[in-house]
């Protein structure tokens, strides 16, 4: 839904100017990162699913480029260009186009070219305060545009991690559960498999190595693998090291003899993922589920509660807000708070604003150290449509 008439264009520009002014007053510096981005950055970090939704092409010099599918990664890259040591606190705001291929064809609510106005806050060490600051800005932004009827939906990825950390599990299963959390269909298959102890039948090689490798140290395992490869005349290829191959064989061998995932843990995970309620109610439910299983996730829950307290103190009405543990499972770079602002009557896949905390992204983009980061983006065309609809 690019602005196709002069009137629409002026309305959109006017709204964006007001949003950027608001962000500026809040201490966010206006930046304009490149629209053309190196494709590799997006593809390596965000994976093939985003590529399928991105305009990727090779230019005449052979460089693989893309039209930016969002602005969070480009703004993060800009931060790293300005602050390669990644030690500086910085706040940026932006307004500009992003591009996504729409497999079902572009439509008004799912345009292939759309505009985002937003903020990103890097390096703020008081994470709780930064979360609330960004959330408040998002709410203030949509309100200042004239939106009155909206609902905030929250999630928090850190709670799930806390739950998995608190449960008594081998580390290899924790890593798996964390990783598969982002892939809901495979996640349920995995939990099922671990619970039933339905082990995949070991293949020929693992059977041959299994007896000899189970229970060995990492070094011994590497020696066994190395000897096997030499004897068979198989060279190392494909960038994985002997260490990595041996480590996974050790895990697989351990699984052959391991107990199943305890029933209580399965139940806790299932109950946890079923929680969707008003914010306070959701926190109580999760606390009850964890306590019932003897798992201590109090500090993660306290963070969530403190966030809601702060928001209410700042005048944000949470009475029709929701908190869903499933929310945010599709965007892997989020690491804590996730939220979106929805408008009643518009589909939940069409929020007017969204955002969250992504503490792991900058290190993946090459930062020498982890950088706490949180941001929000406003889908300005949808916001304009929502405001227009409410007033007509």
């Amino acid at each position: 839904m690019t602005a196709e008439s002069a009137k629409e264009f002026e309305a959109l520009e006017g709204q964006a100017r007001a949003l950027v002014a608001l962000f500026g007053e809040a201490g966010y510096e206006f930046v304009a990162p490149a629209i053309l981005q190196p494709a590799g950055v997006f593809l390596d970090q965000i994976g093939e699913q985003v590529r399928a939704r991105s305009y990727v092409f090779t230019d005449l010099a052979g460089e693989e480029l893309c039209l930016r599918p969002d602005l969070t990664v480009p703004v993060s890259r800009l931060y790293l260009e300005r602050h390669p040591d990644a030690e500086t606190e910085a706040r940026y705001c932006y307004n500009g186009p992003a591009f996504r291929f729409q497999p079902l064809g572009p439509s008004a609510m799912h345009p292939r070219e759309f505009r985002q106005a937003g903020v990103e806050c890097f390096g703020a060490s008081d994470k709780a305060a930064a979360d609330v600051e960004v959330l408040l800005l998002a709410v203030e932004a949509v309100r200042s545009a004239g939106l009155r009827d909206y609902r905030i939906c929250f999630g928090d990825i850190a709670l799930f991690y806390a739950l998995i950390d608190a449960a008594d599990l081998p580390e290899r299963w924790r890593l798996k559960l964390r990783h598969y959390f982002w892939r809901p269909p495979s996640f349920h298959v995995l939990v099922d498999q671990l619970a039933k102890g339905a082990r995949i039948e070991p293949d020929r090689i693992l059977t041959a190595l299994g007896e000899s490798i189970a229970g060995k140290s990492q070094q011994e395992a590497e020696d066994i693998v190395s000897a096997y490869l030499n004897a068979e005349g198989i060279p190392l290829a494909g960038n994985r090291t002997l260490r990595e191959i041996a480590a996974r064989l050790l895990d697989q061998a351990a699984d052959l003899y391991a107990d199943t995932l305890p029933k209580e843990v399965v139940t806790v995970i299932e109950y946890y993922l079923g929680v969707a309620a008003s914010p306070r109610e959701a926190v109580d439910k999760i606390a009850m589920i964890a306590r019932g299983a003897g798992l201590d996730i109090d500090s993660a829950l306290a963070t969530v509660t403190a966030r809601f307290d702060l928001l209410e103190q700042q005048g944000v009405d949470l009475s029709n807000a929701t908190f869903a543990t499933e929310f945010g499972r599709k965007l892997e770079y989020y690491s804590g708070l996730v939220f979106q602002i929805e408008v009643p009557g518009m589909d939940e896949t069409e929020p007017v604003a969204g955002g969250g905390r992504y503490d792991n992204l900058l290190i993946a983009l090459g930062a020498p150290r982890p950088v706490p980061a949180v941001g929000t983006a406003i889908h300005t065309e949808r916001l304009l449509a929502a405001v227009g609809r409410a007033s007509s």
Partner: protein, 233 residues
């Protein structure tokens, strides 16, 4: 000369061209190149109102999709890779018994811990932890790969496009694994690659194909039936 009643596109070079030619020869409707023997137009003996277009195997797919030719002969792999809305565009009339090639997922033989697609997601997780990025899959079959990996629940990867010598890329380090065609497996073996147990994406062969969007008048349908029954008998 009047306009042809039916246009059929056949491969303009290589094994596919030769095998298509011998198939037609066996039916009695021998393929003849018009003019000098490097020409790109031809005819079928005994069917004077059929025009033959020699063109590349991949261009045949585009011609069929757009309905610019009535019939075509090319590999199923190219059709499934290139045409997202294949069911509404192209009809598979008959497999022709040549041009056999399996599109498969293959990983380095040294990956002793990997034998199934499900292993790949675990490897992707481990690889991202130690190398800071996802797996790279070298292939020219971007769409087949995406669909198959999605069906198998594998997400931690990206595709690097490869148009030649794909099987060498894991050894040179530009990819970790590949999706490629194989007929006997010799090339994969020589490059120390192994096919995953459930890594068969498509068993492809050359097909006689019909364009659903071409203009099918009575005579064109008649000719289609004639050619189909001759080729598939």
């Amino acid at each position: 000369m009047s306009a042809p009643s039916l246009v059929i596109a056949v491969p303009s070079k290589g094994r596919l061209k030769e095998q298509a030619a011998s198939l037609f020869e066996a039916t009695g409707y021998t393929l003849r190149v018009k003019g000098h023997d490097r020409g790109y137009r031809g005819q079928l003996d005994g069917l004077p109102d059929v025009a033959v277009e020699y063109t590349s195997a991949s261009e045949i797919v585009h011609q069929l999709r757009a309905g610019r030719v009535h019939l075509g002969i090319t590999g199923e792999d190219l059709v499934r890779e290139t045409v997202p809305d294949v069911d509404s565009r192209i009809e598979f009339l008959a497999p022709l018994g040549f041009g056999h090639a399996d599109v498969v997922v293959a990983v380095p033989e040294c990956w002793l811990d990997v034998s199934r697609m499900a292993d790949l997601e675990d490897v992707a997780e481990q690889f991202a932890r130690s190398h800071g990025r996802g797996l790279r899959v070298a292939t020219k079959y971007m769409n087949l790969t995406r669909r198959f990996f999605a069906k198998k629940g594998v997400t931690g990867y990206r595709i690097v496009e490869s148009v030649g010598a794909t099987e060498a890329t894991p050894a040179t380090g530009t990819s970790e694994l590949i999706v490629d065609i194989t007929s006997t497996g010799t090339t994969l073996k020589a490059n120390h690659l192994k096919v995953l147990e459930d890594g068969l994406i498509l068993q492809s062969q050359a097909h006689l194909l019909a364009a659903k969007r071409a203009s099918w008048d009575g005579r064109a349908k008649e000719l289609k039936d004639t050619i189909l029954s001759a080729l598939s008998s």
